[in-house]
């Protein structure tokens, strides 16, 4: 059976990974990610830093005109880890159903 990924399993980090995974390799900018995950600025920033440190997301900062923009995308490693964690979650639910 696959193992739980403790970095991803934290609720907000799980939402971040889920949101990015649905973008099929396209980046999400910070405000949209904030809306989708329903997080605060500070909370989102700190959990993104954790995911970036783990190599699961890549963060790019640039400017659109004079306005700074932060874009976040899932790395290949992050996609693989997220899939594995989802498989693990499904396996836990299915195993419990089989036992029941």
């Amino acid at each position: 059976m696959a193992e739980s990924d403790d970095i991803i399993h934290q609720p907000l980090r799980l939402k971040i990974m889920a949101a990015l995974s649905a973008e099929k390799g396209q980046p999400l900018d910070f405000p949209r990610l904030k809306t989708i995950t329903q997080a605060t600025d500070g909370n989102l920033g700190s959990h993104l830093a954790t995911l970036e440190k783990a190599g699961y997301v890549a963060i790019e900062k640039d400017f659109v005109g004079k306005r700074p923009r932060t874009q976040v995308r899932l790395t290949a490693e992050g996609r693989k880890a997220f899939r594995a964690h989802v498989d693990y979650l499904r396996a836990v639910v299915e195993a419990a159903e089989d036992e029941g």
Binding site: E3, S4, K15, A18, A19, A22, Q26, I36, R90, V92
Partner: protein, 194 residues
């Protein structure tokens, strides 16, 4: 969470089910927001078509109304297809059957609208002018209640504006409806910017 015999973190069935549900809800929210971003420009485009159609009804003789609206509808459907394609994520691939769904849905709507006019035979031009506004309003409302809540607000707005125009400004209804397309345009901006 707890540790198993190998010292690895394990989670309960409830935790796993809750996490899966969180994933599903987050991805659905993301999809809805993406839909708004794609739908916004389409709504803005339709507001211009809407204004053109109603100005034609206000300024041109009745025999021109049907051909002009049919032409505008064709332009609108083609434009919506192009905008929907441009708005999807590059890596997402073509949404399965989207073109046929859009074409089939538009055709069904047109046939429905024409059939209603044929069966009901409205003698008053204002009735024919109000019908598309009511129809589009209720369609948006249904889409809103089923899938994307902001469309319910836009549908209610279109429905309400159409009824207000029909009751209070009937002699100037085509111009009222053309002006109401401004609300449709702003609704498109509202969808697109969020």
């Amino acid at each position: 969470m707890r540790l198993n015999r190998e010292g690895l973190m394990t989670i309960s069935r409830n935790d796993a089910a809750a996490a899966l549900s969180d994933i599903e809800n987050t991805q659905r929210r993301g999809m809805t927001l993406r839909g708004y971003r794609v739908g916004g420009p389409i709504l803005m485009m339709w507001s211009l078509i809407w204004a053109t159609g109603y100005l034609t009804m206000g300024l041109a003789p009745p025999e021109l109304w049907l051909p002009v609206w049919l032409g505008l509808d064709v332009v609108g459907v083609a434009g919506a297809l192009l905008l929907a394609r441009a708005g999807k994520p590059a890596g997402a691939g073509a949404p399965p059957g989207m073109t046929w769904r859009l074409l089939g849905g538009s055709l069904a709507l047109m046939i429905f609208a024409l059939s209603v006019f044929w069966v009901m035979k409205p003698t008053e031009p204002a009735a024919a002018m109000a019908f598309p506004g009511l129809l589009i309003g209720v369609i948006y409302a249904v889409v809103g209640f089923w899938a994307a809540p902001r469309y319910a607000v836009i549908g209610a707005l279109m429905f309400g504006l159409t009824l207000v125009g029909y009751v209070l400004f009937r002699p100037w209804l085509p111009f009222w409806m053309a002006a109401a397309s401004g609300a449709l345009f702003l609704s498109g901006v509202w969808l697109w910017r969020r």
